[in-house]
Assembly symmetry: C3
Homo-oligomer: 389 residues x 3
C-alpha cells in the first residue's frame, strides 16, 4: 500500500504464549512492576471546566479523584482521609453503566474544599488539610503533615492521564514524550477542543492484551463486524506506527460513506482544518497499556482500559465532539450506537479467546500478514515484562 | 468531666496500623488463636424458656444450636450428626434479615429429642445418642461413643454466650469473671428480666475492629448522626471503663428528652429501681471481641458481632424490653427505628474506612482526645495478638 | 437374601475420613491424577444420529464437542480454534437447566464443516483444517499441523464416554473392559435402542463421593423418600456387584406396583425380552467416578456426574425410552417427575453432609450393615488415590 508495506508480513511468528493472558501470576507481575509506572487516561479537562469541579475514578484498584483548584491547576488525590482512612467520596465499586447524555461526569458539583463525612476533616482543593476539629490538644499533631495523598497526573490534548505508582514530581514530561508522535495527527484537528458527550462502560471477561490484539487487526472484520464492511475495507489499513507503545494508522472510508457511523453520515461538526484526503480517513491507534484513540472526521472515540484481573478488564468508551455553534454538543447517536454494537461483537470474541486459551495446553498458530501489528504488540510487551519474569 | 478526665487525652498516639484490618493473614491468626477461646453472645435464656426449645446459630464458621433440656439445663451442640456428618437443622447460610416482631427465634418448636433427617439417628436433649436404626449388628459400635459434639456455653444476666474452641468443662467461670465489672450497673436494673422483642441483622463489609473503634467514640456523631444531637451531647461521654476488654461508660440524656428513641420519648416500661440521675443516662459498653451492650432507661440494645472475614462482619442487633403488666412486650418501634438508621450510618462509615485503608500505603494520624478509648482498644488488641504474630 | 448376604455386614468399618470430601487439595489431586484417565459419560449416539450433527459438552473444566462425520465415525474435539484459541461454539458456562422435552440436544444443526466465528478458519468434521483465509503467505505455515485437538472418546451400548487426559489412540478397549460385567444385564433389554427423551441438570454443593455414597444405600430411604416406600422395600437390595468400580444390584418392585414412577404404573414401552422375575426388578448401578445407571422395566435413567470443585458437582440426569411404534418416544413424565423429587431430596442430604463435615473435626461412625456398599466404594477410592497422596 505504501512504504510501510514490508511490515504487513508476520514473518511466521506465532502468537503470545497463552500463559501471558491466562496465568494470574503474570497479572500479579504486571500489577506490581508494569502498570504503576504507566499512564492511564482517566477523564477530560473539559469535564471539570470550573474551579472546584471534580470527578472520581478507579484505577488499578485505587480510588482517586481529580479536581481543578482555584488557580486552574488540576490535582489528583487518593480518595482517602488522612485521619482514619475513610473514603472521601463514596464510590460505586461496580463502576458499570452508561453515563446519561449531557452528564459527562456524575459527581462534579463545584466545591471550595473537601470535607470528610466521618469526622469533618477539611482539605483545600490543593490537598492541604485546613481544618481538623478537636485535634488542637493532640501532642505532636501538625496539620501540614496530613495533606491528601497525591496521585501523579498529567494532561495531553485535553485528556487527563494518571499514574498510580508515583508522586507529584516531574509529572508531565514522560506522558508528552510518549504521545508526541501523535501530535502531528491530532493537533491540526484540534483534539483539545473536543468534549465528552457520551460514555459507555463495559466489564469484559478477558485479559487486557487480548483487547489490544483484537483492536490491532481487521482480519476479523468480515466475520465479526458485517456492519463495518460498507464503510471501510478490512484489508485497507496502513500501519503508520508499528513499534510500541503506539501502534496503528489510518483506514480509508469508502467513497459512498462520509464517516464510520450507523448510517455512514456525519453526526457532528467537522474541524475546518480537515480537508482533502484527510476527510476520507478513520485513524485507529492503541497506546499500551490503557488507551485506544480513534479519530473520525466528525468525532473522536477513546477507549480507556483498566485491567481488573488476568481475565477481566474494564473499558470506558468515550465519544467526543466539537461543540457546534452556540456551544452545544451534537447527540452523536449514530456514532455510539454503531460502536456499542461493534464493541460488543469484539468483546464476545475476546471472551471466547480468553476461555479457549485458559483450558489446558494451547499452542497458537503463526500470525497471518493481516496480524502484523500483533507481532509488534507482543514484542513490545515481552520486552517490558521480561525484566520482571 | 470527672476523675476519669485524664484519659480523655490520646497522648498523640496513632491509630492501629491498617494491615490489622486489611490483611487476610491477620484474620487467619485471629481465627486460629484469638477467637476460639473467647466468648461470643448467641442468644437469650428467654428465647428458649420451655424445655425442649432450641435455637440454631452460626459462629466463626461453625453451625450450632442451643437447647434447654428437661432439667432446665442449657446445652450447645455442633449442628452435625455423629453418623455421617449431616447438618441436623438445615441452616440458611446467609443468615441475613430481620426477625419479625413477636418471633424472637425462628426455629424453636418444643422437642423431646433431636432426630437426624438422613438416617433417623436420634439424640436426647442432653446430646446422648438414644437410637440408631440398623446399627445393632455393627461390630464394636457403642451408642455411648456417639453423643453430639458439645460447644462450650455459659450465661450471664440472661444472655447466652458460646466459645467455639473448648469442650464442656469449666464453662462459666471465665465469662462471669470477664463481665463481673458490669454487674453493679446491670443488676440493679434487672437485665436478666429483659426479653428480646426484635432483632435486625446486618452483614457489613468491614473488619470487626473498625466496628469496635466506631462504637467507642462520638467524635463522628455531629457529622454522621444528626438525629442524635438533640438527645445527647457528643462531648458528654464518661470513660467509665478504659482498659480492655470492657470499654465505655454513660452519656447524659439531654434535659428535654427521656430516652434515645426516634421521638425522644420512652418506648417501654422503666425498671422501678431506676431513679434520679440514673434515669437520665444512656450507657454504652463494648466487650471485645463480639459484644456491645447499650442500656437506656426503657430498653436494652445488644450488638452481637460475628467476624466473617478480614473485611466482613455479621452483626445481629437485638432490642430487649421488660414485660409490661400482663407479660406482653412493648412494640419498641421508636427505639429500633432510631437505631436501624443510626447503625446504617455507622456501617457506611466503617465500610468506607475499610475500603480506604485497603488500598496501598496508609498511615493513620494521631488520635484526637475524643478518641481516647480507641487508644485503649488498640492497646488491648495488640497485647492479645502479639503472642501469635 | 441370597448368596450375597455376607457382604451385608459393614464389619464395623468407619466412613471415609472427611478430609477426602472437604479438603480442596485432595480435589486437586483427583483432578490432576485420577479424573484425566477415567471415562465420563457425555451423551448418546442417538443424539447425533445424522452425519454432521454434534453436541457440545463441558467436562472437568474443558469445553468440548462431539460430532458424527460423513462416514458415521464419532469424534470429540476441544472447543477451541487452532489459530488464536477462540471457543468454536459459544458455551453457557453455567450449563444449568432442563432440556425441553423432544429436544435432547440443543445445538445440533447438521453441518458439513466447523467454521470459527473470529477469523473464519474452517475445519472438516474429522477435525482437519481445510481453509485458513490470508494464511497463504505465512512462512512455515502448514495447514496439516493445525487440526482440532482431539479428545479421547468411546461408546458403550449407545452411550458416548470421554476421557480428558488422553489422545485418540486405542480409545475403546478399556471402556468396554470396565463396563463388560454389565453387558449380560443391559444387552438382553437392548439398552442401545433406548433414546434420550429428557434431561434435568443440577449443580449440587457437595463432593462427588458423597453423591456416590448416597446412591449406594437405601438406609436413608424411609426418612428421605417417603414416596419410594410403596414401590420398593429399602431393605430389599441385592449387592450384585460389590467391588469397584461397578457397585449395585437389583431391588424388587412391590407386588402392587409395575415400575418406579409417580403413580407406580408403566410410562413407556417394555422390551419384549423382559419377562418373569426381571419384569419386577429395578436395577441401580454406580460406576466410579461419573456414571449412575438405573434400569426399570419401562425406562432407563442415567446420572452423569461432573466434579466441579471439592464441594460442588454437576449432575445431568437423563431419561431414556424405547421408541414406541411409529418411532415416537413416550412423554415419560411420571418417571422424571418422580426422580426429580427424589433427586432433590438426595441432593439436600448430600449438601447437609458436605456442610457438616466441612466444619472442624468430625469422626464418622462405623457403617451399618445397610451401608456395606459404601465400605466397598471407600476401599476402591482409597486404593486409587493412595498412589498420589
Amino acid at each position: 500500500m505504501n512504504a510501510k508495506q514490508p511490515v504487513r508480513s508476520s514473518g511466521g511468528i506465532t502468537g503470545l504464549p497463552p500463559r501471558y493472558c491466562s496465568d494470574p501470576t503474570i497479572f500479579d507481575l504486571e500489577q506490581k512492576h508494569l502498570f504503576p509506572s504507566q499512564w492511564f487516561p482517566i477523564g477530560y479537562e473539559s469535564d471539570i471546566a470550573g474551579n472546584g469541579e471534580h470527578f472520581s475514578f478507579q484505577l488499578l484498584g485505587l480510588d482517586g479523584f481529580c479536581v481543578r483548584d482555584d488557580h486552574d491547576q488540576l490535582h489528583c488525590f487518593r480518595n482517602v482521609c488522612r485521619h482514619r482512612g475513610t473514603q472521601l467520596c463514596p464510590v460505586n465499586s461496580s463502576g458499570l453503566g452508561t453515563v446519561p447524555e449531557g452528564e459527562p461526569c456524575s459527581d462534579n458539583p463545584t466545591k471550595s474544599s473537601i470535607v470528610c463525612d466521618y469526622h469533618g476533616w477539611k482539605y483545600g482543593l490543593d490537598g492541604r488539610l485546613i481544618a481538623a476539629p478537636h485535634m488542637d490538644n493532640t501532642p505532636g499533631f501538625n496539620r501540614a503533615d496530613f495533606s491528601l495523598y497525591p496521585i501523579r497526573c498529567a494532561k495531553w490534548q485535553g485528556i487527563i492521564f494518571a499514574q498510580v505508582g508515583g508522586g507529584q514530581d516531574n509529572p508531565t514530561d514522560s506522558l508528552t514524550e510518549i504521545l508526541h508522535p501523535l501530535n502531528r495527527i491530532v493537533e491540526p484537528r484540534g483534539l483539545d477542543q473536543f468534549q465528552r458527550k457520551k460514555t459507555i462502560s463495559y466489564v469484559i471477561q478477558a485479559n487486557w492484551k487480548l483487547l489490544f490484539q483484537n483492536f490491532n487487526e481487521c482480519y476479523h472484520c468480515p466475520s465479526v463486524h458485517p456492519q463495518l464492511t460498507p464503510l471501510t475495507d478490512y484489508r485497507d489499513a496502513e500501519n503508520e506506527f508499528d513499534t510500541g507503545p503506539i501502534l496503528g494508522g489510518p483506514m480509508r472510508i469508502r467513497d459512498d460513506a462520509d464517516s464510520v457511523t450507523r448510517d455512514g453520515d456525519y453526526c457532528g461538526p467537522i474541524p475546518d482544518s480537515l480537508v482533502g484526503e484527510e476527510l476520507k480517513k478513520a485513524h485507529y491507534y492503541t497506546v499500551s497499556p490503557g488507551f485506544f484513540l480513534s479519530l473520525f472526521p466528525d468525532y473522536v472515540m477513546v477507549h480507556r482500559l483498566s485491567p481488573l484481573a488476568f481475565n477481566q478488564t474494564k473499558i470506558d468508551c468515550d465519544f467526543l465532539f466539537l461543540p457546534a455553534s452556540g456551544l452545544s454538543l451534537p447527540t452523536g447517536a449514530t456514532a455510539w450506537e454503531f460502536w456499542d454494537q461493534t464493541n460488543l461483537q469484539d468483546w464476545e470474541m475476546c471472551e471466547r479467546v480468553q476461555r479457549g486459551i485458559s483450558q489446558g495446553n494451547f499452542s497458537p498458530s503463526p500470525y497471518s500478514p493481516l496480524e502484523s501489528l500483533l507481532v509488534k504488540f507482543d514484542q513490545h510487551y515481552r520486552q517490558q515484562i521480561a525484566r520482571f519474569e
